[in-house]
């Protein structure tokens, strides 16, 4: 248990499971009150909130469709009423259907764009006035390696995750004078519940994926959480508008090519487990 974020309130969108959940719990472990957000899965969100409360912080559950501006506004209003304001915003919602440009209809495209990108816009716009008033704020947008390498069959997700880093850059410049930093994280392959599906795509075997990462293992969601704690802390006032590629040493913007640097492409690099 740390106290780095004691007295702060963090809203983590998409925190009922996976990386969002891990981020919320790491922020809670450092003393931040957390707003746990999900679109519809109340029991999961409640369970995360209970875990956070067990760490000794306040936790509030808000279900909301982030592509609905009114729903986002009322979520922020509730959070503000409950905790006095939102100091830390994690945009972590990620809708990622598998469709190529030829499969995806314009409606499919818009649905993903509204959840992944418009949702981040609504959340940022709703929390920024309070941050400006308090002259302090931290916004962290979850981008994706797919935004920088591109990816087959995730046309909308890859585009949105690149766009969200644009939002990071623009807001970082505009709100720097108010003590607000805005950064992106690009997580590489993480050990999450959705990974079994993600692994069945048509490029990579598990082995291939691991071989791209010099670290030789998948990322643990709590590691993303620790990075978020750092970016949300007092120590990072000079870090803004940037992106951290947390990809196990895989180049942030290079995909398959990173397989080529292995002199022995079928060589031995057994997956390593991380010990916490």
């Amino acid at each position: 248990m740390g106290t780095q974020l004691h007295g702060r309130t963090a809203l983590v969108t998409g925190s009922s499971s996976n990386i969002g959940r891990a981020i919320a719990l790491e922020l809670a472990r450092e003393g931040a009150n957390v707003v746990i957000h999900g679109r519809s899965r109340l029991p999961e969100a409640e369970a995360v909130a209970a875990e956070a409360r067990a760490l000794g912080v306040g936790a509030l559950v808000c279900l909301a469709d982030v592509s609905d501006q009114a729903a986002v506004r009322s979520m922020i209003a509730r959070a503000t009423e409950h905790f006095g304001g939102v100091d830390i915003l994690l945009n972590s919602v990620g809708m990622r259907p598998t469709q190529t440009v030829l499969d995806a209809s314009y409606e499919d495209w818009l649905n993903v764009l509204h959840a992944n990108l418009y949702g981040a816009f609504y959340c940022c716009q709703a929390v920024l006035p309070g941050m400006v008033k308090r002259r302090w704020g931290r916004i962290i947008n979850m981008s994706s390696r797919n935004a920088f390498t591109g990816v087959k069959g995730r046309i909308h997700e890859g585009s949105c995750k690149a766009a969200v880093h644009g939002l990071t850059r623009a807001l970082a410049i505009e709100f720097a004078p108010y003590g607000i930093t805005v950064n992106s994280i690009s997580p590489g392959s993480q050990k999450t519940q959705r990974n079994p599906n993600m692994f069945s795509d048509w490029y990579w075997t598990d082995e291939d994926r691991l071989r791209q990462m010099p670290v030789g293992r998948l990322g643990e969601p709590w590691e993303v959480g620790k990075l978020c704690v750092y970016l949300a802390s007092e120590d990072t006032g000079f870090i803004t508008g940037t992106i951290i590629h947390m990809t196990g040493g895989a180049w942030g913007n290079v995909g398959a090519e990173s397989l080529l640097w292995r002199s022995n492409p079928r060589g031995q690099s057994p997956p390593r487990e991380v010990v916490r």
């Binding site: 440009v101 046309i155 508008g241």
Partner: protein, 252 residues
Amino acid sequence: MTLARKTALVTGASGSLGRAIALELARQGADLVLHAFTHRDNAEAVADEARRAGSKALVVVADMRRPKEVEAMVQAGVKAFGGIDILVNNAAVSGHESFLTMSVEEWDRVLTVNLSGMFLCSKLAAEDMVRRHRQGRIINIASRDAMTGAEFMAHVVTSKMGVLGLTRCLAHDLGEYGITVNAVAPGAFDVPTLDKWYPTLTGERIAQLTPMKRLGLAGEIGKLCAFLASDDAAFITGQVIQINGGLEMTTS
């Protein structure tokens, strides 16, 4: 005449960059479908110039925010010339506003035209290219703002960075059909809208800051697009090509 017997659809052909791109493609032998929205007369003037260069040209008016109009535009091009071989996604809108007061309508206008419109044009053109087994070319015009960010332009910067992601994903999805997709990110160019883009800097000052000591010429973007559209560029895909005289290397 490296683009003879090819048809190019250039969106936003009424603007200075769109005009320069369209005319260079015409000079290389391509027939043109020229899209305009508010300035049809400008696009008609470009069409006349292209015809004098020996190309066929058709002007189509469409609102990028209306998918039906975009579909009709692509269909008109296919009907007139048999198909689309080259798509230059150049249409874009801009704005200058504080993020705190930005309305959803304004955010949506910029994102829809600059990003969703580009998705839809690319999808429709790609469907045509795949159907006709043509190894087509898609060229997306991004911007300096996508690389650096810009103040009071959150919607534009977001859309233009999205263009880079879209470019890479399209390149993945369409590579197996021999279709290449690249982005061109122009820096400061000697065009009438320069002041709008750089409200606090004069063209002279920007030229001073640029290693090449001058602004870009619209025709130079045309040449770059013509190269990317040619058969010679068949192995270049998913790339962002910056054309800015080295300006991004200038630091404080």
